[in-house]
Symmetry: C2
C-alpha cells in the first residue's frame, strides 16, 4: 500500500475496485473475510509489535491515560476484532436483496435491488480496532473504502491495513479496494474528490465533524453534537425516573448518547428534584438549573447557552417545563436530533412525544445510553447519524448500501405506450 | 400566503408546521387531500383566469411554443391533477410503517418506523401542474415544503398554492406547511438555511442543478446530467436492437432518459450500423461516430467531448467497443449514472452489465425511456436522482420519508448490561 501516489490517484483506484467489488458474490466476500481473520491471527506478533511502537511514542508524548487505553491493541482486542469478523460473516449479505418487484407489462419486469454505494471515506478516532471493524463492514457491503485513523495509531493502522489488503486480495477481492490515508492533508484532498467518493463518514469531535461537513460536496453521514434529553413527565414512576436520569447522564459521560439536559414536568418537580439531585451528586455530577428548578433545589443557575451545550462530562442542566408539549418544544429547539427519552406511565403522551420529537432515536421509559449499534443488534456500527436522509441513528451494514432499478424486457419500447393506441402498464406486484 | 416575511422566517414557520404534520394521521392527511381536489374544482374559474394572465404575458414575451404548451393549465390539466390527487389518496401512507422490530431484552422493544424527513425545498420548471403534484406528495408523506416554480407561471402558481394552503388548513393541516417562493433571491436565501431545510430537490437545466449543488450545505436530491447509453452486444437480436436504439434516442429527445450515445459491439458493427443509421436518419437524427464507426458508415466524426455531452436533441454519438467489458468501462467513465441499457440474448452478459454499470437504472432489452416514476408505477415523482445515497432513479413517496428508532422500555438502564454481571441482550426478531 504505497503512500507515494496522490490521493486523487488512489481514490480513482478505489473507485475502479468498487465497480468490481459491487459484482462480488456473497461467498467470495465471506471467504475474503475469513482469510482476513486468519491472517490477523497468523501475523499477531507483527500487529502487537507495531502497536508497541505506537504506545511507546504515545507515552513519550505524555498522552492521557484514557487515550492510551483506546490506543492499545493487545491479544484480547485482536481476538475481539476476529470474533467481530466471524459475526459479520454470519450476517445476511446486504447486497442483492430484492426490495420490490413489479411487472410493468407482460415480459417487462422491474426489480429494485440493493447494491453497494461505491467508495466510502471514513475518518475515525484513535482506536485501531475501528479500522478493522469499518473496513470489514465495507467489504461485506461491497464498498471500497478510504480510511484515515488517529495519527497516534499510525504504525498499528499501517500493519492492519496491509494485512486486510493482502489477505482479501489473495482471496480474490479487487486490488486497491482499501486505501489508508495518513495525514490531515490527505483528508483535505479527499474532501475535494466528489467525483470519486460517494459518502464520507467522519467520527470525532464536534469541531472536526463540522469542519468536514462545511468543506466538501460529498454527502456526509454522521453527527456533530449529541445533546440528548430525558423528560420526566408528571405521570412518571419516581424510582424509574431517577434511575433513568442517573444512567442516561452518568453511566458513561464521554459519549454522544449521554444525556445533557433533564426536563422535569412542573407538577412533579417538588417531589422529584431533591431525590434525583441526591443520586446525581452522589455520582459526582455537577448540576445547573433554571429559576424554577433553583426555587426547589439550591444549585448553580443555568444560562441559555447551557441548553445548547454538549458537556461530555459530569455536568447536567435541569429545566422545569409545563407538560409534554413544552418538553417537545424545548427538545426540538435545543436538541441535536440524536436521542431523547420520555419517562411516563401514560402511553398517549409517550406516543405524542415519540412522534413529535424530531430525533433519530426516541425512547420511552429507558436510558438514552441504549442508542448504539451493538445494543440495537446491528453488529458493529460505522457511526451514528443525525442526518435526515439515507440513514439515521446507529448505522450498520444497511447504511452502506443503496439500490438500483433493474428493468428486464423483451424488446419493449416507450413509443408503444404513448399516443392514441397506447398499451397500458399493468403495474402488477410480482411478489 | 404573504411574501412579506423573510425566507428565514417562512422556513421557520414551515419547520414548525412539519413537526405537527409528522404526527398527522393517514385519515386526516387524506381528508385534506380530498379537500384540496374539491377546492381546485370549485375554484376552477380563478385558476384558469390566473393562467390566462400568465399565458398572455408569455405570448407578449415571445415565449417559444413548447414552453407555452407546458405553461398552459386548462380544464384538462386541472382534471389530470385532481385525478392524480385521488390516486395519491389511494396509495399507502409511507409514514408509520414498521421497518423492523427487535426485542433487545424482555420488555425492551426496538422499532424502526418510517417518518417524514421534515422540510423539503423544491425548485421546479414552468409546468404549474408540477406544483400540485409535488406539494400533495409532500402532504401525503408528512413533509412541509418550500416551492419555487418558473416565473412565467407566477400567477397560476400563486392561486394554486393559495388554494392548497387554504383547503388543507381548513381540513386541519398545520398552517404554513406549504410556502411559495417567487424569486431567484428567495431561492438563494433558502440555500443557506441548512438549520431549517432538510432536503432540496432541484429540477431544471444541468447548469441550474449544478449551481444548487455547489451553493448549499443542505443535501440535494436530483440529477444534473442525463447521459444515457444503449449498448448493442454481439448476441443482440438485430431488429430488437434497432428498435430500442431508435426509441431510446428519438421517442422524446428533450428529456433526461433519452439516449445520447450508442455503443456497438465490434463483431456486429458491419451488419448493425447501416441498418440503425437508416432508421435514425429517417427520424431526422444527426449522427456522429468514432473512427471504427466511420469506417463502416460515413458520418461526422465524434470527438472526446461528445461522449460527455447531453445533447437533448436529435443528435446521437456512436462508438464501436470490444465486448461488454469495454462497454461497461465507457459507461462508467462518461455516463452520468442515470439510465443505461444492454441489448443482448445472453443472460450472463446482461447480468454482468447490470451489476457492473454504476447507474440508478440498468436495463436489459428495453428502451432507456422507461425510467420514469409514472411508468415504474410509483405514482407521481418528485424527481429523478443520480445520487448514490438515500434515493436513486425515479423518486416517489418513498424518497420523501426516512425513519426513526423507537425504543420502548419498562425502566431499563444501560448499567445493567455492563460489567461483570452484565445482562445479555436477546436481539430476538419480533415479526
Amino acid at each position: 500500500m504505497s503512500s507515494k501516489s496522490s490521493i486523487t490517484e488512489r481514490a480513482a483506484v478505489a473507485k475502479s475496485a468498487s465497480l468490481q467489488l459491487a459484482a462480488a458474490k456473497t461467498k467470495a466476500k465471506n471467504a475474503a473475510l475469513t482469510e482476513i481473520a486468519k491472517t490477523l491471527e497468523r501475523r499477531k506478533a507483527d500487529v502487537l509489535q507495531a502497536n508497541q511502537l505506537d504506545l511507546e511514542a504515545a507515552e513519550k508524548a505524555n498522552l492521557a491515560a484514557p487515550l492510551l487505553k483506546r490506543l492499545k491493541f493487545d491479544e484480547a482486542k485482536l481476538a475481539d476484532v476476529c470474533a467481530g469478523i466471524h459475526s459479520l460473516i454470519n450476517l445476511d449479505d446486504p447486497v442483492g436483496r430484492t426490495l420490490s418487484a413489479v411487472e410493468l407489462d407482460a415480459g417487462l419486469e422491474l426489480y429494485k435491488v440493493s447494491c453497494p454505494i461505491g467508495v466510502i471515506g471514513v475518518v475515525f478516532e484513535s482506536r485501531p480496532d475501528a479500522l478493522v471493524q469499518i473496513s470489514t463492514l465495507c467489504l461485506k457491503s461491497g464498498d471500497a473504502v478510504l480510511l484515515k485513523g488517529g495519527s497516534e495509531a499510525a504504525q498499528t493502522n499501517r500493519i492492519l491495513a496491509e494485512i486486510i489488503a493482502e489477505a482479501s486480495e489473495a482471496a480474490g477481492m479487487p486490488a486497491g479496494w482499501i486505501q489508508l490515508l495518513e495525514t490531515r492533508q490527505d483528508v483535505a484532498e479527499m474532501l475535494a474528490l466528489d467525483d470519486h467518493i460517494d459518502l464520507i463518514i467522519p467520527r470525532g469531535s464536534n469541531e472536526f465533524v463540522r469542519y468536514i461537513m462545511n468543506n466538501t460536496n460529498v454527502p456526509v453521514l454522521g453527527h456533530a453534537d449529541g445533546i440528548c434529553h430525558v423528560y420526566v413527565d408528571r405521570e412518571a414512576e419516581l424510582d424509574m425516573a431517577v434511575s433513568i436520569a442517573v444512567d442516561s447522564k452518568c453511566q458513561y459521560v464521554a459519549v454522544c448518547n449521554a444525556a445533557e439536559t433533564l426536563l422535569v414536568d412542573a407538577p412533579l418537580a417538588a417531589e422529584f428534584l431533591p431525590r434525583v439531585r441526591a443520586e446525581l451528586e452522589a455520582k459526582g455530577c455537577h448540576l445547573k438549573g433554571c429559576e424554577q428548578t433553583r426555587a426547589i433545589i439550591d444549585i448553580e443557575p443555568a444560562c441559555d447557552e447551557d441548553w445548547a451545550t454538549e458537556y461530555l462530562d459530569y455536568i447536567l442542566s435541569i429545566k422545569v417545563v409545563d407538560g409534554v408539549d413544552a418538553a417537545v418544544e424545548h427538545i426540538n429547539r435545543y436538541g441535536s436530533g440524536h436521542t431523547d427519552a420520555i419517562v411516563t406511565g401514560d402511553k398517549d403522551k409517550a406516543e405524542a412525544f415519540m412522534s413529535r420529537v424530531d430525533a433519530a432515536d426516541v425512547f420511552w421509559n429507558c436510558s438514552t445510553r441504549f442508542s448504539d449499534g451493538f445494543r440495537y443488534g446491528l453488529g458493529a456500527e460505522v457511526g451514528i447519524s443525525t442526518n435526515k436522509i439515507h440513514a439515521r441513528g446507529p448505522v450498520g451494514l444497511e447504511g452502506l448500501v443503496i439500490y438500483k432499478w433493474k428493468l428486464l424486457g423483451k424488446g419493449q419500447v416507450a413509443a408503444d405506450y404513448a399516443g392514441p393506441d397506447a398499451k397500458k402498464f399493468t403495474h402488477k406486484k410480482l411478489r
